[in-house]
Symmetry: C2
Subunit: 186 residues, 2 copies
């Protein structure tokens, strides 16, 4: 029996090229040609995070305060095209900032919901195939990946995954747009 995944990733990530990883995932296992860019091809916190995400085969729940990383955006779109059921929850105030991936994800047909109340939707977690929890301090932004001190835990353990799945479903229903109240100034 395979040992459960247990990983701790720290950021800032070392620079690394993620083209090969994304290209191989797009063609599901085919070996991609090496990218001619000058970035190192080795492993990094970003590439390990990408690998966890790209392991999704059935479902991906994402609950993120800020999402602007192009590489992580591409990975999520790729999973959606592969038929993985992707659902995204995000924060209303941050989803439309410059460089946000949220518009691109919606344009690609991915379901996105957001808060409409006062507090921030400040979670930063994802759940792969209802099995693998990815959570920590990291927003999925290039600033955070390349410049900040951040951590991400990867936990394959129902005792931690289950409450996060329940929290996701609760928020998903609460942010259902049919429940929205629209206030118009008089």
């Amino acid at each position: 029996r395979r040992r459960p995944v247990r990983e701790v990733l720290f950021f800032p990530s070392l620079p690394s090229c993620t083209e090969k990883l994304l290209a191989e995932a797009a063609e599901l296992g085919a070996a991609a040609r090496p990218c001619p860019c000058p970035l190192p091809q080795g492993d990094s916190s970003l590439s390990r995070l990408l690998r966890c995400l790209l392991s999704a085969r059935r479902s991906l729940e994402i609950c993120l305060f800020a999402f602007s990383s192009p590489q992580l955006g591409l990975a999520v779109q790729l999973l959606h095209r592969r038929g993985v059921r992707v659902r995204v929850v995000t924060d209303a105030q941050y989803m439309s900032v410059n460089g946000s991936q949220i518009g691109l994800l919606r344009h690609a047909g991915i379901q996105v919901r957001h808060n409409q109340d006062g507090g921030f939707m400040h979670h930063k977690f994802a759940i792969v195939d209802r099995r693998l929890l990815i959570t920590g301090s990291l927003n999925w932004t290039t600033q955070a990946i390349q410049n900040n001190r951040e951590n991400v835990l990867v936990v394959e353990d129902a005792e931690y995954v289950k409450p996060f799945l329940d929290e996701f479903e609760k928020i998903w229903e609460e942010y259902n747009p049919i429940n929205f109240l629209f206030f118009f100034p008089k």
Copy 2:
């Protein structure tokens, strides 16, 4: 043998009075008089987080982007007075905002270090007695505790605690003020 602590806390926290908890911790186990305030006395995510912290007997490492919660500040000061070795790492840009606890902690004689570089020190974790990891999306601010969607994991498992301890020691040394460079405009 005691089962390792494994907890998931979600926020916003239900309102609850934390006076009794803090008073009992100050007198190490003595039963405090009930507080006359109208807040519920029951358990909440905040009170459970406080309880984890107050369980410290020897050491507490804190690595926090933003720290302004008066209750959590009191708890940390109380541990320091009890003789627990408290060390705090925080973000330079946020430590002096209105309501920050950092000045009070320093005034109380607690060692605090901060970054001096460009990226944010965005971690939000604490380690109790080198044994218990507390980590998640939550900054220790009243806004986050009372208004935001947040999560905190409590993990008593050396496989997760060890890399966070190593990360703390690395940052602690890197932020040692004797290594600071001071630039003066010409």
